[in-house]
Symmetry: C2
Amino acid sequence: MKNIPYRYYLPEEKMPKAWYNLRSAMPEKPDPLINPGTGQPVTADDLRPVFCDELIAQELDNDTPEFEIPKPILDMYRIYRPSPIVRAYRLEEALQTPAHIYYKFEGNNTSGSHKLNSALAQAYYAKAQGMKALTTETGAGQWGTALAEACAAFGLELTVYMVKGSYNQKPYRKDVIRTFGASVIASPSDTTQAGRAILEKDPNTTGSLGCAISEAVEKAVTTPDCRYVLGSVLNQVLLHQSVIGLESYEAMLAFDEYPDIIVGCAGGGSNLGGLIAPFMRDTLTGRREGTRYVAVEPASCPSLTRGQYAYDFCDTGKITPMAKMYTLGSGFIPSANHAGGLRYHGMSPLLSKLYHDGRMEAVSYEQTQVFDAAVQFARLETILPAPESAHAIRAAMDEAVRCRESGEAKTILFGLTGTGYFDMAAYASYLDKTMGDYVPRNDEILAR
Amino acid sequence: MKNIPYRYYLPEEKMPKAWYNLRSAMPEKPDPLINPGTGQPVTADDLRPVFCDELIAQELDNDTPEFEIPKPILDMYRIYRPSPIVRAYRLEEALQTPAHIYYKFEGNNTSGSHKLNSALAQAYYAKAQGMKALTTETGAGQWGTALAEACAAFGLELTVYMVKGSYNQKPYRKDVIRTFGASVIASPSDTTQAGRAILEKDPNTTGSLGCAISEAVEKAVTTPDCRYVLGSVLNQVLLHQSVIGLESYEAMLAFDEYPDIIVGCAGGGSNLGGLIAPFMRDTLTGRREGTRYVAVEPASCPSLTRGQYAYDFCDTGKITPMAKMYTLGSGFIPSANHAGGLRYHGMSPLLSKLYHDGRMEAVSYEQTQVFDAAVQFARLETILPAPESAHAIRAAMDEAVRCRESGEAKTILFGLTGTGYFDMAAYASYLDKTMGDYVPRNDEILAR
């Protein structure tokens, strides 16, 4: 592809028509979700009050390689997809690296991130099953925005439990969600038993994703024709996000390149799991050797690099199934000065398994290092990255610098998951040099 | 193009290599800028202390049809261009219109609008001439952000005078501009004579674009190796923005369509002037008949629909040349509740001339009507539009409804100039039903 040196958009006819299920290529599957009541793997019936039937089927299916994308979802994808793959020439030049750096940019939609890919899928299946409403949680607000867009598109009511710290720090995020017609409640709230119990223990808590999940699940199971949806962590979400990797795979073919290193930020793991899916297939099936996969996380919320690989609850209120994953403990709350997103206490069981099996690496950074990279990237590549995405930028830049030192012209692909328009308070504190770092003590990581 | 029904990106090899100068096709040219000291048309020498030489040449050249885009600018364009043309199927369906509605979306870059197209050009020419710094004004902040990005790309210092009302209402905009390395000063300020004079008259003024221009020009001419740049109104800016129209023209060919109606919001006129350029060429040269061009403006800042076609100053401090344009008077300040941007007192002389000659129509809307359209569009098409852009959405929707009534399947193209991420306070006031409208009295329109 000599004529397309900068950014590449797949032609519409090449856009993926099916999601790819990476579990189908794994010789050992991720450990199953466990019903804490029975101690047994969850069944479809266990999950039915919480999730839609089709999504449960996707969640539990470790074998089917492809799931066809229903046409109404494809029609919505076509409004904002394909997302571009961009060759970061200016970043390469600034780093004086022989590496070829590419980024897959998922920020060109109003949700500001890749989250819309799964939101549309989950809203569609709920509508198709005759549901009238959904509930969810949101932290930084990208997932809540994405789901509000999806519910507006398919005609569903939506209640979003927003982590109270974010609700207060980022009032405009709430207004975006409201613009798409959803209701937003600061969590923990007095609208659920789970919320009231958490507030009783700690009335001044700024909340956590774990708390907000407890409330959203409770609200879903106590409301008629209502289901709960989650923006990351679950197998189904990684399945939907494979659209990122599938588009990237085609684009890299068009560039006549294959990534040596794939880098992604990892909170719950949905972006990274989606980005690596078809490449990891090549690795697991032996079609390709030597590809490195790097998960990047905040030093202040280091589930892979410092968590325990164990069964844990997905929420703080302990009303969800238990997942085998790298976890900091379901009560873990990142330090108050943490501004970079990726604040979930656990990690996708699928990615946890790959990491545990040595298929993937993980690295963590303190937030000032991350914002260093964010600002440098913005000035070079014109895009204001989300702090989450800037974790991947930081690691990709460091890999590129190592290439400079070794003289190797490696191909690096990283996921630029979103934009930082609603993170300007964090950028301002970085610019004003009032941003601090925090690395949790071992005793704060509850599961240890 | 049967296979590309939703969004279309020009292949990189089809991206414009030259800007198109619409003045070259005009049988009667726009009236020249006048030097208020001499009463004569401005010369290149008059402008040299303020503008860069190459930009002056572009400003004064009514005849050359094409200006080649220098390679460093093309390289930057390739990072965020081409911008997509999207067929608004869901909007068509919701309006039950036989019309085909397309929008050219310029919001997929960090500046949040089309402004980056001219910012890169102006920064490049300044750097090429050996300048070290630039100054400018910004209202809503899109232009300031765009120029900050451009100055970061080409290595120039930048001082942005930001209208005080916006500076206080939209603190995060300032932080975006700072992220790209520029300085931001609330205008009017005590850093210039012009600012001090305005403050002396009215210490509590929230400022205006006209005030901020006075300050930025003064700062430029009193600083070594520094020039002033403007984000709209001028011929040179419309020239650079022709890239919007040229891409749109190619895309419409690929869709096998030709717009019957082209709609754009109009503040200073840069987006609309750029969007219509190659189509208006067809109209003016008789290659095509019957195309309608519709400028849309706020009822609270109605330069075309209620202003006077007369020579007026481009700034409040009356230190700029005078332009023949539709104007509300250089002292005009939109009402305090005005939230929709497009707040300049005048209109591009080029567009003013076309409007005066009956080549173009103009329509105005009150802001609640505009936000009605913005929210409806967001929920259907997933994009959160800038309030500015929503003026065009409103008018395009109304044209599409007229098509429903007449049964005509017209092709409507509108410019979706940007995103509204920094306008959430305005969206919130709309959602909370606290947003009001304001139509200025005749005696507030100073030039009448």
